[in-house]
């Protein structure tokens, strides 16, 4: 149970070693690099955002290329592939890739090019199809659509609205242009709302006929081509065919790049790492030949780092304890049992300076409370088994995912424990199956008692658990205050509260009302009750006197003291809040028996058994999912609000070491994995 002690590290090294040194640090992943805060005539910072932009672009290119590749050559991925984690990478592979880097980048560019070409060709096919569609009424015409006439004659090609016959057409044109000379109008095709026509006349009459036709609503064809429509259609068809072939070629070329998949993934990671490295160079203070690097390193790793670096490079390395005002990052270290709940703590807040790491104290309560809320032996075993198998099957899964699995593994064990205590196995499935299918009355008896028969007994137990949890929180506060040598605060803010709340609880239990309500079996002797009264009174008076010790004005002080005494109602609601343990525990059990009852409604026999199995599987899966979520949320709440409220506020910043795996997606260094 500890926040790992950090050392501030300053390294001064030669500029010619900059690249190797940074890469070495990146692979080690133990140093968080921060600004040196030094900038003068000799040392200055370099801005490398231009380089970083190139790397960022390469990363984006590689990502895009992988997307193209994956849509062309789908990878068979199971639903659980997300758990697989990153592949291991050796330093040698990393260095060898430098040679293939540019080739891979070219492959990525080529993939993008092919994708673009395919998109263009697809658009071209659509365009030619539309054009052919537009040509279809003109297919009967054996001259090009842009035919204007011969030396002496003029031709007008276009459409008129409405469906006209040959006679109607001739009559309409003759009426519209009575003065003009002879003409020949030929209908190429008619459709419901338009007539395609070809008008032929002497050149001198062209204007007259054009005007006449315009008057009738003449429109030129949408497509113009120098070949007769039928031929033009063939040309278009050939073009579309060619586009199709190109697409197919491109498609197969893309597929031929499938062997580059690993390299493309490595490219994405490689340049992500380089981009990160250049970001770190921005933090360095550099002179002409040397550079300064400052950061934080866990104290335990300091000696190893010094030995490794001085062995490889010419440099000066110096460690110092962080100063009071330094913004020291926080890294936690706990045993295997508590570590899984570190993420629960982290999503609240990491410990601030001077605060203890409450993970080790929280973890056992966490599993305990979670198990009580879910409280079914079969559910617990399922959860524990599934998480255990997944952890074994995917040993390289992301650390955060592994911690979560591990946490649910312990929660599952605790759930199974409480299930046995309360006699719940898929709710009451044994009773129901026995009664429905075999006509026997069997029950697995509860090891302790059945909550649904004695809810008050469980409620009392839940409130007791709550009091223990809260007092443990107060205890952590006491430890913290003593640890930081704030003895007065320890006495005033914690010991007095222990006295007041503890005294009040004993006093309450001695009243006959509470005894009846909770059907208590023990009796608190009047002497003890009297002692409790005195202790509680001392506590209350003490709180009134010291609660407002920040103020100098005595009246204000007492007023503030009275106000802080009012917080005792907070303890009441905090303790009552633990009744959710009972409610959620009952909810799981009752919903499980609803499922079982519904399943048994189809009666015995084969049909009944099939119906039962179906309803059983669907119902209990849903129940597990919903109640796991509920138990998770409410266990977190009890920890965050009731438990942390007593001593913990957090506010620390997480330790983000300069590490290769921080920004990579597919790979991580082997060494790093082991350290």
């Amino acid at each position: 149970m500890a926040v790992i002690q950090m050392k501030r590290v300053v390294i001064c090294a030669l500029k010619k070693n900059r690249k190797q040194l940074l890469e070495d640090l990146q692979r080690r992943g133990v140093v968080e690099i921060s600004d040196t805060g030094l900038e003068d005539d000799i040392f200055h910072k370099s801005n490398l955002s231009d380089f970083r932009a190139i790397f960022t672009k390469n990363v984006a290119d590689a990502r895009r290329a992988l997307e193209i590749l994956n849509s062309a050559v789908p990878q068979d991925q199971s639903m659980l592939s997300a758990l697989e984690g990153k592949k291991a990478l050796t330093v040698r592979e990393y260095e060898e890739f430098a040679k293939r880097h540019d080739d891979t980048l070219r492959a990525a560019d080529r993939l993008e090019e092919l994708e673009k070409e395919m998109a263009e060709n697809r658009a071209e096919i659509v365009r030619t199809d539309l054009e052919r569609e537009a040509l279809s009424p003109w297919l009967g015409l054996d001259i090009p659509l842009d035919f204007k006439g011969t030396h002496k004659t003029a031709a007008l090609i276009g459409t008129l609205p409405g469906s006209l016959t040959q006679e109607e057409l001739a009559e309409k044109i003759a009426q519209a242009a009575p003065q003009a000379g002879p003409f020949s109008a030929e209908i190429v095709s008619t459709e419901q709302d338009q007539t395609c026509l070809f008008l032929f006349c002497e050149k001198k009459d062209r204007e007259a006929y054009a005007a006449a036709l315009n008057f009738l609503g003449f429109a030129r064809p949408a497509v113009q081509a120098d070949k007769p429509p039928a031929q033009q259609a063939e040309v278009l068809k050939a073009a579309a065919e060619k586009c199709r072939q190109t697409i197919e070629q491109d498609q197969s070329e893309i597929k031929s790049y499938a062997k580059y998949r690993d390299d493309l993934e490595l490219l994405e990671d490689y340049d992500a790492m380089r981009s990160d490295k250049y970001k770190m160079i921005g933090h360095l203070s550099q002179s002409k030949r040397t550079f300064l690097l400052a950061g934080y390193v866990p104290a335990k790793k300091a000696a190893g780092l010094e030995a490794a670096l001085t062995g490889k490079f010419d440099l000066a390395i110096e460690f110092s304890d962080p100063k009071e005002k330094d913004d020291v990052p926080v890294l936690l270290k706990n045993n295997a049992f508590a570590t899984p709940t570190e993420d629960v703590l982290e999503s609240f807040s990491l410990p601030a300076r001077g605060e203890i790491d409450p993970t080790a104290l929280m973890a056992p309560f966490y599993y305990f409370l979670y198990g009580m809320m879910l409280g079914d032996a079969a559910y617990g075993i399922i959860i524990a088994l599934v998480t255990f198998i997944l952890m074994k099957k995917y040993p390289r899964m992301k650390p955060s995912m592994h911690r979560m699995m591990n946490m649910f593994f312990y929660c599952g064990l605790s759930t199974a424990f409480w299930g046995v205590m309360f006699g719940s196995y898929f709710g009451d499935v044994v009773d129901v199956v026995g009664k429905t299918f075999f006509n026997v009355n069997v029950t697995i008896p509860a090891l302790w008692f059945t909550p649904i028969n004695q809810p008050m007994r469980l409620l009392v137990f839940c409130l007791l658990v709550g009091i223990i949890h809260l007092f443990a929180g107060l205890g952590a506060g006491l430890y913290q205050a003593i640890h930081n040598r704030r003895y007065k605060d320890a006495l005033y803010d914690i010991v007095l509260w222990y006295m007041l709340v503890g005294g009040l609880i004993v006093l309450l239990l001695s009243t006959s009302m509470m005894r009846d309500m909770f059907s208590l079996t023990f009796v608190i002797s009047p002497v003890a009750a009297k002692a409790a009264t005195i202790v509680a009174c001392v506590g209350a008076v003490g709180i009134i006197l010291t609660g407002g010790r920040d103020s100098r004005n005595p009246v204000k002080r007492i007023m503030k003291g009275l106000y802080s005494l009012y917080n005792v109602t907070g303890y009441l609601s905090d303790v009552l809040s633990y009744s959710r343990l009972l409610a959620l525990g009952l909810a799981t059990g009752v919903i499980a028996s609803v499922v079982n009852k519904m399943g048994s409604m189809a009666g015995g026999g084969v049909v009944g058994a099939i119906a039962f199995i179906l309803i059983f599987i669907v119902g209990h899966t849903l129940n597990i999912a919903i109640n796991m979520l509920g138990a998770y949320v409410h266990t977190n709440r009890l920890q965050y609000v009731e438990f942390f409220g007593k001593f913990y506020s957090g506010g620390g910043r997480k330790f983000h070491p300069f590490s290769a795996s921080a920004h990579t997606k597919y790979y991580q260094f082997k060494e790093e994995n082991e350290s």
């Binding site: 629960v344 982290e346 999503s347 609240f348 649904i452 809810p455 008050m456 409620l459 009552l576 809040s577 009744s579 959710r580 009972l582 409610a583 959620l584 009952l586 909810a587 009752v590 919903i591 609803v594 009852k597 919903i626 979520l629 509920g630 949320v633 409410h634 977190n636 709440r637 965050y640 609000v641």
Partner: protein, 164 residues
């Protein structure tokens, strides 16, 4: 009084129905509201699906608690599982009263928890690292549904032992 006594079972059934009805409506409204907010977040960032789904489901529990109370009431009165014997009017009223905390608190807490969950979805969409805290705000509202659930459960079991 004969007519009143014939109302025993109907009153108990009314209680069970209300316990399933009101929190169910409340949860449906709330989950619908949060679902719309969640869908909006997922259009921007599909990787948020898991987180916003959890937040969407939070106000759904009231409906389940309501179902639970309805079920306990139905089986305690014998309407479900057969053997429903006639009960006095006052016994029926007792069951009705026992169901009311869950029915009424369930309805309102579901809707307000939904509002809190919508706000939390907004929080997570901007700061995905704050998921742990965002879950707590809607869970605060649920406390009251849980308290009502507890009172309803204890009352229904208690009514069974009374000779009213």
């Amino acid at each position: 009084m004969n007519f009143f006594n014939s109302l025993g079972l109907p009153l108990a059934l009314l209680g069970a129905a209300l316990a399933a009805l009101l929190p169910g409506i409340g949860s449906a409204v709330a989950v619908g509201k949060t679902g719309r907010a969640a869908a909006g977040v997922v259009t921007e960032d599909p990787s948020m699906f898991g987180k916003v789904l959890v937040l969407q489901l939070l106000p759904g529990t009231q409906g389940i608690y309501g179902l639970l109370i309805a079920f306990i009431a139905l089986s305690q009165t014998g309407i479900l599982g057969g053997g429903a014997s006639a009960m006095s009017g006052s016994q029926g009223l007792l069951y009705l009263a026992a169901c009311l905390p869950m029915a009424i608190v369930g309805y309102h807490s579901a809707i307000h928890q939904g509002n809190a969950a919508v706000a939390s979805i907004g929080l997570v969409s901007k700061r995905p690292d704050q998921f742990g805290k965002s879950m707590i705000f809607p869970a605060m509202v649920e406390t009251y549904a849980i308290l009502a659930l507890l009172v309803s459960i204890l009352s229904i079991f208690g009514v069974g032992g009374l000779n009213a």
